[in-house]
Subunit: 480 residues, 2 copies
């Protein structure tokens, strides 16, 4: 932590003392969000929104590389449309906001503010898709959605949040399944490569799957406090929605067939994940690849002759290889250091009169505080190298932390013991019954996070809850 | 028009026959939008949304170059907040959608779905701004807004539309005025340079200004049918909102001062403007700089040996210099030509076996249908040159059309005569009274579009309506 100005930093609760308060402090002090007069709705401030812009840009590029096209659907869903698929409406109706008046008049039919847009896409596809030549449709939209949550927390759960929702229609079951998994992998690769956040890819249980889906897949990340955070989901609907909405196409043999559909979404919740996967007691730590500002140049004794000129010169030079900012405000260097740390800017470049004389500067990494003296002649190359190294090491550190917090439970006693004493993922076999899942949730406040793809080990042959024969490995955990 | 397939094109009404129907036909046939089950709300299809993405990218870049930062504010405005500025609420309350229920419960206070976000930004700034050091704030958001319109038309007027809204706060009156005009100029330059659409910059009259503004500035474009389209507006609020919301800062002398505010917005309405400023009887004509696809490669006799290979090769090559697509579907070349024309793709590249043998291809411009034989060796350079020329010539053509449709009226008889017989802008002096403005609107269905910045000519010294002394030149016109 920077020494000469503790005012800004002192206000942060340490994560060991109170993790929830630490999180709220970081969110506010790093100026990511502000509360609004609308209960449960946040204001995304420039520093927070800029992270979302980077997430959007990178994810959108990856989507488009797989053939995704962007569209925009209405904000409102007529009540009768929401009701067409019975599981879906049962899942969402209790938590939607209803528009009942337009201008001075009561509406003939209530409209809900979209909590998700499956029903709108189905209604659209019903007319759009006639023949096998119209398939597949691989559409996505970036928008906000509304869910009338009772308890809200910045980024993690709010009444309105920003997200993307992809909705696709395919000729065959196989193609729909392939797309479902493809998009889950796009999410997982993005989280690992760009957010430096390792995830476990797997399938949700019946109980935890999306309202109306045949199968839901998820990526689950582990936060500093050992809680899991569902970071993105991808659903295969089979032809359930197609049957409810009558979305049929004529195949090559001139027969009518139902389409097979998928949807997949990822939201600003991910910003909460970045904070809790990488942050520390001095604030936010942003992985370089997602950081809106990657390097900040902080002049020391900036009133001294030539310091600001040189600082501007190297900022401009660095600006060509990474997102760079120069802080030439009148605050003290120590204050600027503390701000850089709070905001999680990956590296700061300290440059004073003596450095300039010696043709060098000091580069300080946000994550490790490691200081490197760098010759000004090599600065661009060195900063790029340091950002790359930091990105890789942040991922490795997060993976090591995650792996160190995966525990095996072979029976209920072990499960209980781990759930109470060891925050993290718990691997435990499951018989497949909802009763066991519910008992575990009620007794231990632990839910099934997923049945993993890449971890098929049979750690025992009986259910961790009931002791009956079990073949499915489940990752259990407390979750956000 | 392409010859061998008229099916697609025949469905379009000619603009001379029925301009409104022509517009609707283009919007549908070029696959820009679809109607939704939600009355008055449109679906932006991939071809339409991609234009908006390009508008966003280019405008966002220009905004950021002037210091704008993006944020995201809540979708909802509590009724009591909307009511704080009296002119503003009077202007918007009659046309907002009201949320009255969240989940199963009636809300204690109704929330309107934002029709615009001045009140939310004011509520935010009230806490955010304390000292002169916190100024200026130059924030913008990209979002959708809702206005409960009775009559709707694709892009031009719909119950929900996409836009950006900038909201700024400044220490001084002068700085706010400067920002208001700066953003109007950003809009105008963007329209002229990117959309090839000349605009008239000016100020709105008292009657036509934004609800709650001290002054509203506008850019007005002329459509093919001689009607005006307001394409972007920028408002100076003075300290009116600041007083209503109590947004004060301590200045350098430690005195409390109200901030001065601005807002400025531009919406998907602009896509309607592109259609009506450039389209023709074969469909859309997109200015190259905004076109999602700038060049489409259409193979002739694509089954012939080597044709598809060569087409792929040149598509890849062209893809390095412009946004290129290859149409290798099984449709006939004539059908593909008609599609390219309907969708307004700036140039098509026709490539058949004989062309390949001769080492050349044919490049056809969408706007003029001009065909150029181009050696494959020079293709990239030539296509770039043709796109540049097309961009310039589209602007010149639109400007010539606009200038040919500006008429001077020196008295009411002339005004009447022009309003009835000559679609276009009417220049006429105005005494400044709302009565004259209202009389003209009621009698002739013509409204004051703006008092221009760059055209200060005194074409007479009496009001075109009442004959009393007049010093203000006004552009009048029928408007969308």
């Amino acid at each position: 932590m920077a020494k000469d100005n503790r005012k800004m930093v002192e206000a942060i609760t340490s994560m060991e003392e109170d993790f929830a308060q630490w999180y709220t402090d970081v969110v506010k002090k790093a100026e990511l969000i502000d509360y609004s007069s609308v209960k449960g709705c946040m204001i995304l401030k420039p520093a927070g929104y800029a992270i979302w812009e980077n997430i959007q840009a990178e994810l959108d590029r990856r989507f488009k590389a797989t053939g995704v096209e962007n569209v925009y659907m209405p904000l409102f869903i007529p009540e009768s449309l929401l009701e067409k698929e019975k599981d879906h409406v049962a899942g969402f109706a209790p938590e939607v906001a209803w528009v009942t008046h337009g201008g001075m008049n009561r509406l003939q039919e209530r409209l809900c503010v979209r909590p998700t847009s499956e029903t709108l896409f189905c209604d659209f596809y019903k007319n759009l898709i006639q023949s096998y030549r119209d398939l597949p449709k691989v559409y996505n939209q970036w928008c906000s959605v509304v869910r009338w949550e009772k308890e809200t927390r910045p980024f993690l759960r709010s009444r309105e949040f920003l997200w993307q929702e992809g909705h696709t229609a395919h000729a065959t079951r196989e193609e729909a399944q392939e797309r479902t998994i493809q998009m889950l992998n796009v999410y997982a690769d993005f989280c690992e490569e760009v957010l430096a956040m390792p995830v476990i890819r797997g399938q949700k249980t019946e109980k935890e799957k999306f309202a109306g889906a045949k199968a839901t897949y998820t990526i689950e990340a582990l936060m500093h406090d050992g809680k899991a955070l569902q970071s993105g989901t991808s659903h295969n609907f089979g032809d359930g929605f197609a049957q409810a909405f009558g979305i049929q196409y004529t195949d090559r043999d001139n027969k009518l067939q139902y389409v097979h559909q998928t949807s997949w979404g990822l939201s600003t919740r991910l910003i909460g994940a970045i904070i809790m996967a990488h942050g520390d007691n001095d604030g936010l730590v942003l992985p370089p690849r997602i950081a809106p500002v990657q390097a900040i140049v902080i002049p020391i004794r900036q009133q001294a002759d030539g310091v600001l000129d040189k600082a501007r010169e190297i900022s401009e030079m660095l600006g060509r290889v990474c997102r760079t900012k120069l802080d030439e405000s009148e605050k003290s260097p120590g204050w600027k250091f503390a701000e850089q740390e709070m905001r999680g800017i990956p590296v700061r470049i300290e440059l004073g009169p003596k450095d300039i004389e010696a043709g060098k500067c000091v580069v300080v990494r946000r994550d490790t505080r490691e200081k490197t003296e760098v010759s000004l002649a090599n600065l661009s190359d060195e900063v790029v190298r340091i950002l790359d190294t930091m990105q890789k090491e942040m991922f490795e550190r997060a993976r090591a932390h995650r792996d160190a917090h995966i525990y095996d439970a072979h029976n209920y006693e072990e499960l209980q013991n781990i759930a109470i004493n060891k925050p993290g993922f718990i691997r435990g076999m499951w018989c497949g019954s909802t009763e066991c899942e519910e008992k575990i949730k009620e007794d231990l406040a632990v839910t099934s996070r997923c049945m993993p793809f890449h971890d098929k080990e049979q750690i025992s042959d009986v259910c961790v809850c009931c002791g009956k024969p079990a073949h499915k490995l489940v990752y259990w955990g407390k979750a956000y």
